[in-house]
Symmetry: C2
Subunit: 575 residues, 2 copies
């Protein structure tokens, strides 16, 4: 059975399978979503109108036994940035799609009327099912109901209440292995794009699927084994390594120490109370409570950075509390209490909100006087405004920049409209270069300079050094490749340090494809495609900038401002 | 006494006079505000931060006895469009400034803390007075109080509650001859810029002012007499002409007839009920009620399009109900009742809101389900949300595009974030070319193609003809000149048709300056300056476009879409 594309037309409520075009043969994940979006979507269209499309694509090796490879890319024109967007998540959803030989789902059009639908995909048919009864409901209960209805051989993708509000802070939800709605392609408001198409869920049942075709099995096996070895060796990714032991939140203490953990809406870079919400503290608590740690977000992951955070006594599992979420909903709001953060994270998952955007939004609302910094219970209460779809909820569901404008706040940490992740670019410059210059809007995953600047992975670089265009570019290009393969970004820690690991990764990808794909060539092609889309949408060098306040307000304790020159920023892509 | 610039530093609460630079010698009004903004404001700064500036400039001939010349330009970086903004108003405020030889006021910096101030300018001193007691109050009462305090030899400029909210729909208010807060430099959110600087009022007392220096009195007198004659002759501007008889709302029936009067958030171009809110109907009502018509907005106007609309029995004067306001708050919201419209206009004046932006905002909120189309009382009630500074009020105070995003509405009539005036560009194409390509965002006054397309002024043009780049460009260039002179835009009706009138206008301007200023050269220079600012702020050709829905939804009764090609739009400035 050859690879195919599933086209879902929401105007007509029709679906059709198309042959996977030869011109896409070497594409998957981000390379595929960005190529399809670029080819099929008018860059000037309204992101929530009938002319935008929402594209789902498993990575090239997703669905195989290659380690840590269960990633899905979701693409479209972003209602948050106004540019192209790829957001990705680790979940079993794309593994099922890939095994069904579905290389991409393209959702297009827009129905008349207010009905919501789900699309149920199995080997023998694709059907629409009315989903109105799930509208306005929290995703924890909804996922429980859906898994009860469809059984455990399915994976589920959803938009939540934030999406129903057409909120630019809404993400696209996937399940974790426990069926919790906790794995998100969170960034850029793609949940609203899904909702704008009247699409509430995609349910995938891969029973009877033929599996992923591997063109050169020997090369693939050789490659994945090298990669597995590298992952098992590297301090960050090994079975008892930093990620498995403490999860991504292992970074809380490290970045706080570096003076780059933004506090109180980016008004400081360090706070002693950060230790209360560190990965170490969280791992300890999970052990006491009876949650799960380590844990994988999809079958076949050997890094296992994930976890199941619960209330005391192991009750009411939330899913993972990622570093970025703990920071956004925690330190950035002056909330230094894991129980409050856990419940805020639950609220985000339940409502279909990106945790980073949500945390930055609450912090800006705090600065605007809606509630007090540090008020965890108050923050939880304002999340209910989204659930009730009140005007306050509509403001918050539209994210950080929108909330800043509503409340007249000028210290608003966004690039291209998208809220900053958990690293202050005044203290750590390279990540700021990535925030500014990635086509995605402020996004740490697009070129994770922290690896080199703080963790000494892939070489070392002084965080204060302002010459970071090359570092950021190289990482952005490699990441665009990685995001296309389906390998998790965290495999990069090992492959940046262990040459055999990188070699193995590339061999495994080429093994699946049966042809040689050059990392740099594919990575650059992806980014060029994305930048061309953004250019046609009206982006210029002025959009590749950090907000004004970062150049004017020094951050404690380093007392640094963001002092990377515009020339250095423009050197990233030679604009 | 030579011309001077008053610089008001709100960080230090200091003021200083500076010599008017030779390089500015031939500039006034818009040419001066745009030049100063371009020279002194970083195009990438936050519009509500300390690095934006707010510039006030009377026109070149303002303060002289030249007819219909009491205009003031207000400039800065717009929080609505993110680009350069010039908004202007007719009022006696700039006449006093000009007579005091103050060519411009530059307000800069930003105070710490929440105090509001007023600046009182007289010949012997400039002083700051604490204005906290006026914060949160409606401007009708506030203007009454201030005129009581300062007497009738002053003019007053203010921002209102919408500005205090940092609302992008806020305007800058000036008094009419009755002291009503009804003359607005409304567009682009400059009220928020004023408020962001802690500046609540500027009070100008010109007692003892030396008057405007006229370099060539003979040329000036000769010119203004020719212009006066032309204004007295032309059907639109003569003493018993269309504008004097019915005000600007004379256009309601005309544009409705042409199928270009947008109804119900741009979902139709015509409605029989428009007759209920026409200029003719309004003039009739004013006669019955005992309001005033015709009326001038400033001493020396011979066109007298203004009026004082009141409640029945002549009570509670509002001031003028302009065509654009009657349309925005009326037909566009399916409100066909002059009493409701009058009260909505009063609310806008009272709150410091741009009536066009406010009307388009309410219509979009109606489409988003906040209230029903046609619900005049409901619309008035939601205006109170702004007064109470509720979250709903914060949404509305930020204008049409913002409200559209909050409520998930995609039929949002804006260019560069600024709401459309009262002409549907599907039925009347040339005005659409101006909306798209003026540096100001959707603005009919920037190049009033309606004059030629509908009124046969300055030639004739078929409204459906799509070749309108030349018409729009010529009008935009002439308007940039006109906006710099201080002459009201409505003088254009006469000077476009009567060559001696145009000659007189130019002579009068050259007479004041004592040098020859070329209309086209100055006009083009102004627009180039503005476009350069916008380009540095990140604008591209993609911003010189109308919203997507206008190309996709035909408008009744013409069944036309906006079908001017992008190439034709780009031909306006040769981009």
């Amino acid at each position: 059975m050859p690879k195919r594309i599933l086209r879902v037309n929401m105007s007509k409520l029709e679906t059709s399978f198309e042959d996977f075009p030869d011109s896409y043969a070497t594409l998957g994940g981000r390379a595929l979503t960005s190529t399809i979006v670029s080819k099929e979507v008018d860059p000037t269209c309204h992101p929530l109108g009938p002319n935008n499309k929402l594209v789902f694509a498993p990575g090239i090796i997703t669905g195989t036994v290659a380690p840590t490879s269960g990633r899905i890319s979701v693409g479209g024109k972003s209602p948050l940035t106004g540019g192209i967007k790829e957001a990705n998540a680790g979940t079993d959803f794309p593994q099922r799609l890939a095994r069904m030989q579905i290389a991409a789902i393209i959702v297009e059009g827009q129905p008349k009327g207010d009905d919501y639908h789900m699309v149920k995909i199995s080997m023998d048919k694709v059907e629409f099912i009315n989903a109105n009864k799930y509208v306005g409901k929290g995703l924890y209960q909804v996922y429980k109901d859906l898994f009860k209805e469809f059984g455990n051989r399915v994976s589920i993708c959803a938009c939540g209440i934030a999406g129903e509000l057409m909120g630019a802070a809404s993400g696209i939800c996937f399940n974790d292995p426990e069926g919790l709605p906790s794995r998100y392609a969170g960034r850029g408001g793609l949940g609203a794009v899904m909702a704008s198409k009247g699409l509430k869920f995609i349910v995938v049942d891969d029973t009877g699927a033929p599996g992923v075709e591997i063109k050169n099995k020997e090369l693939f096996d050789q490659g994945r084994e090298k990669l597995r070895k590298a992952l098992a060796e590297h301090d960050v990714t090994k079975p008892d390594g930093a990620l498995a032991s403490y999860g991504t939140a292992v970074l809380v203490n490290i970045i706080n120490e570096a003076g780059g953990l933004p506090q109180r809406n980016f008004s400081s870079g360090q706070d002693d109370r950060a230790a209360n919400i560190s990965g170490e503290k969280k791992a300890e608590e999970i052990k006491i409570r009876g949650g799960t740690r380590p844990h994988h977000c999809n079958p076949g992951c050997v890094i296992r950075c994930s976890e199941v955070w619960t209330k005391p006594g192991g009750k009411d599992p939330v899913g993972v509390l990622e570093y970025e979420s703990v920071w956004a909903l925690g330190a950035n709001c002056s909330i230094y209490n894991l129980d409050d953060i856990g419940e805020l994270n639950r609220a985000c998952n339940d409502l279909g909100l990106d945790t980073i955007e949500a945390g930055d939004t609450i912090a800006v609302a705090m600065e605007g006087g809606m509630l007090k910094f540090g008020d965890g219970k108050g923050a939880l209460k304002v999340m209910d405004e989204i659930r009730k779809k009140t005007p306050t909820g509509r403001i918050l569901a539209n994210g950080c920049a929108f909330t800043g404008q509503a409340f007249g706040v000028t210290r608003v940490p966004v690039v291209k409209g998208q809220a900053f992740p958990a690293y202050d670019p005044r203290a750590i410059k390279g990540i700021g270069v990535t925030y500014a210059t990635t086509p995605m809007g402020a996004d740490h995953t697009a070129g994770y300079a922290i690896a080199t600047e703080i963790m000494g992975v892939g070489g070392t670089a002084d965080p204060r050094d302002t010459n970071k265009s090359e570092l950021s570019r190289n990482l952005q290009v490699a990441t665009a490749y990685l995001d296309s393969t389906g390998y998790c970004l965290f495999t990069a820690f090992a492959v940046l340090d262990i040459p055999e690991g990188l070699e193995g990764m590339i061999q495994s990808v080429n093994g699946v494809l049966g042809t040689e794909v050059d990392l740099t060539e594919l990575g650059m092609k992806v980014i060029t495609t994305e930048r061309d889309f953004n250019k046609a949408a009206g982006f210029t060098a002025a959009d590749d900038r950090l907000p004004e306040f970062l150049r004017q307000e020094p951050v404690a304790p380093s007392n640094e401002v963001f002092n990377v020159s515009n020339e250095e920023l423009d050197k990233v892509w030679g604009a």
